[in-house]
């Protein structure tokens, strides 16, 4: 089996779906001829032609707005927002339109869209290329929100997202595009080829949305993470020697509360990780779910390790990013509580 990067896995999924279903159309800024600024759509215009894969004006409102119209017509649009930080002009189209169209029309019209966007930090992108806006989408009824942490999941989840008949926000942690990232920014970059989850079958496979994966089994504490933070959690567990059970959510909505509940009931402790700002972040929802479902099993307060409630800074990136040292301190704190 080939070992590939997250970029190649994403491209592979889109390519496969374009071949299987001629109603799949792909577009966004720089997506066509050039193949995307991260190369996720490289070669697709050459292969499928300009009416199936094309460049758009720099208008996120327009990209999502026309995608909704195409979806209502019967196509299956896969559009790219160049950076998640740029999605806000499209927010009204996503929240008021795509997310509610099925509901408000009693199923007459639907929005089978996949809206891809690179998210997260770790690339010195400053405040306009580093944000993690997942909570802006998980708060909206009618949307599904997906965030893979490795090439194998990226392909299987993206195939499911494209096949899904509801709008899916597909967040791609850009620091993971070319390799896993433990948060040790001072260490050499590790390529995906050394990671077992870069082994990706050539053929079609789907990973069901709404199912978490346990990346590391453990008995001491449950760590709930997604995207880049899965790898940071693994590093922190290894470095502290704490027997953490690491859950990779993969899909935020629908949320796999069964896996979370089962794990926390077993460990009695819980640490929640995300890169996004803390207040009203998705971690707050996770924390509430855990205490509602597992209160009597908890032996320590639930802790969150997150980005700070500031805009994402440039020079201070590594003071901002919730790296393995901070995660390790939280693991120790819940064990000592």
């Amino acid at each position: 089996m080939a070992r590939i990067t997250m970029i190649e896995a994403i491209r592979d999924a889109i390519d496969l779906m374009m071949a299987r279903d001629d109603k799949v159309v792909v577009f966004g800024e720089d997506v066509g001829y050039f193949g995307g600024v991260f190369r996720c759509t490289d070669g697709l215009q050459r292969k499928y032609g300009r009416t199936r894969c094309f460049d758009t004006p720099i208008s996120e409102t327009g990209i999502v707005g026309v995608a909704i119209g195409m979806g209502a017509y019967g196509l299956r649009p896969v559009c790219e927002i160049q950076f998640a930080d740029y999605v806000y002009p499209a927010y009204d189209q996503i929240v008021s339109e795509a997310a509610r169209l099925r509901y408000r029309s009693a199923g007459e019209f639907t929005s089978p869209l996949t809206i891809r966007m690179p998210c997260g930090g770790g690339i010195f992108g400053g405040q306009t290329h580093s944000q993690s806006p997942e909570a802006c989408f998980t708060h909206v009824s009618g949307l599904k929100t997906v965030i893979p942490s490795n090439p194998y999941d990226a392909k299987g989840l993206l195939i499911s997202a494209i096949e899904d008949d509801d709008p899916v926000i597909f967040l791609e942690p850009k620091r993971l595009y070319n390799g896993p990232f433990s948060g040790h920014h001072d260490q050499p970059v590790v390529p995906w080829s050394r990671h077992p989850l870069s082994e990706v079958p050539d053929e079609y496979y789907a990973i069901e949305l709404g199912k978490a994966a346990i990346r590391r089994e453990g008995a001491a504490v449950t760590v709930i993470a997604y995207g880049t933070m899965v790898h940071v959690a693994e590093a922190a567990a290894a470095e502290t020697g704490i027997d953490a059970e690491i859950i990779d959510l993969r899909t935020l909505i629908p949320l796999d509360t069964d896996t979370i509940e089962q794990s926390v009931r077993k460990t009695g402790r819980c640490v929640i990780l995300h890169e996004a700002t803390r207040t009203s972040g998705f971690g707050a929802e996770l924390s509430a779910q855990v205490q509602e479902r597992c209160f009597h099993h908890l032996e320590a307060p639930i802790l969150r390790v997150t980005g700070w409630d500031t805009p994402y800074p440039h020079a201070q990136e590594w003071d901002y990013f919730p790296g393995p040292a901070r995660v390790g301190r939280a693991l120790k704190a819940v064990m000592e509580a």
């Binding site: 159309v25 009416t51 199936r52 758009t56 004006p57 208008s59 409102t61 327009g62 707005g65 026309v66 995608a67 909704i68 119209g69 195409m70 979806g71 209502a72 017509y73 019967g74 196509l75 002009p89 009204d92 189209q93 008021s96 339109e97 169209l101 099925r102 509901y103 408000r104 029309s105 009693a106 199923g107 007459e108 019209f109 639907t110 009824s141 009618g142 599904k144 899904d164 008949d165 509801d166 709404g210 909505i253 629908p254 949320l255 509360t257």
Partner: protein, 421 residues
């Protein structure tokens, strides 16, 4: 401590101080209505260009008003003749029915049978004539004031009313505000209620039609006020770039609730002229002239269907009624303003034309009105039998949780259980 307001920079003596321009309508309540700023050309004086005309060759058509019916009610000029007498009578009946429907539903709201209603009084020609120029399979992306699109194609009034009453037969299950219909089979996209969003979606639908090699066209609808939304400009950019088969309609009814069209930028240029920067052919049409609306709609629809690309049309009209049942226009415009509107009433104008050509009479008109009033009343009675907002059967609380997603996820099943339904 709050940030101090910077002190004014002392201007050199040659430069007078700046001042901000905030547009005001010509007249406010108590004043004499004044439409002197609306320049109305004689009917029949504006040319009808060939379908494949270049946008640059008809720029003047965005600054005039295409009119067919003259003061004597005769159809004159290049744009006349798109309909025979049967077509005209069908249009007249559609407009009468739309007006009767509005009157009945306004009364129903006043009687507490629903929470909200919006009339289209004075604008009936635009939706009715446009719809009757479309083909089955085409798709409108309407605003909340295009009920005529459904009524003109004889879509069941009872279904519309059941939606307005949010009753047990509401096809939308009570989820949507009254009048936010959805009727896919009638080429009527789900109305959002968030203004302007549908405009760019129509462009996307039309792009899809072109991508698939289809022959269907889309019609986007927006009001003068909402042209200020970014969705409008996104729609024009995408329509300009990909040239999809879409008609970009702007219904300029002079008022966005209490703000005049000047606050949307109508003081400096026509809304039709906005197409020029995007290289999109544009027309400005008398929206109260049924024949002009039908002819211009047919022109733009034919262009779209022949792959000649988008057309923008500004329909010049006047919102005679309140914005909605929650609005009182006497607070912001003279009560007599609609009487002074220079383009007249669309129903009266078409009626007079038909009488003038010997195809209609006052007696037939009175008879048609009586028949239609009865039809609307019968429909209302039937709809009320299925419940009104506060009395009678209505959609179940259980149904509230359905249709958020194709398949109900666990968290919604849990919440439904929590409500105990």
């Amino acid at each position: 401590m709050s940030d101090p307001v910077p002190p004014p920079i002392v201007a050199p003596s040659t430069t007078p101080p700046l001042s901000l321009h905030v547009p005001e309508p010509a007249v406010r309540p108590g004043g004499k209505p004044d439409f002197s700023h609306v320049r109305v050309p004689e009917a029949g004086t504006v040319r009808r260009p060939p379908l494949d005309v270049a946008a640059a060759d008809i720029r003047d058509l965005a600054y005039t008003i295409i009119r067919v019916l003259n003061r004597e009610g005769r159809a004159v000029g290049d744009w006349a003749g798109s309909l025979d007498a049967d077509g005209l009578r069908r249009g007249l009946r559609a407009m009468i029915k739309t007006r009767a429907f509005d009157a009945r539903m306004l009364m129903a709201q006043r009687q507490g049978k629903t929470s909200f209603y919006m009339q289209s009084t004075g604008e009936e020609a635009i939706a009715c004539a446009f719809q009757l120029a479309l083909e089955p399979g085409d798709m409108n992306f309407p605003t909340y004031r295009q009920q005529g699109l459904l009524i003109a194609q004889d879509w069941p009034l009872v279904d519309m009313m059941c939606q307005i009453f949010s009753n047990e037969k509401d096809r939308l299950g009570g989820r949507q505000l009254p009048i936010m219909y959805s009727a896919r089979d009638a080429g009527f996209f789900s109305i959002s209620g968030n203004l302007g969003t549908q405009y760019v979606q129509a462009v996307g639908w039309a792009m899809a039609s072109a991508i698939r090699g289809d022959t269907r066209v889309a019609a986007a609808w927006i009001g003068d006020g909402s042209t200020a939304e970014s969705d409008f400009h996104s729609a024009l950019v995408f329509a300009s770039v990909y040239r999809p088969p879409v008609i970009l309609n702007i219904v300029n009814n002079q008022w966005a609730i209490s703000t005049s069209q000047a606050i949307a930028g109508g003081e400096n240029a026509t809304f039709a002229a906005r197409a020029h920067g995007y290289g999109i052919p544009s027309l400005r049409v008398d929206g109260n002239d049924y024949l002009a609306v039908h002819a211009a709609a047919r022109w733009a629809i034919d262009r779209a269907r022949r792959n000649l690309g988008p057309t923008l049309i500004e329909w010049v009209t006047y919102r005679v009624a309140a914005h909605s049942t929650s609005d009182d226009p006497s607070k912001y415009r003279p009560k007599e303003e609609s009487d002074a509107w220079p383009l007249g009433d669309p129903v009266e104008r078409l009626k007079n034309h038909l009488i003038g050509i010997g195809e209609w009479s006052d007696e037939r008109h009175a008879q048609a009105r009586a028949e239609i009033d009865q039809e609307v009343l019968d429909a209302a009675r039937e709809a009320e039998r299925h419940g009104t907002l506060h009395t009678g059967p209505k959609p179940s609380a259980k149904a509230m949780f359905e249709g958020v997603y194709k398949d109900m996820p666990k968290h919604l099943r849990e919440q439904r259980r929590e409500l105990g339904v």
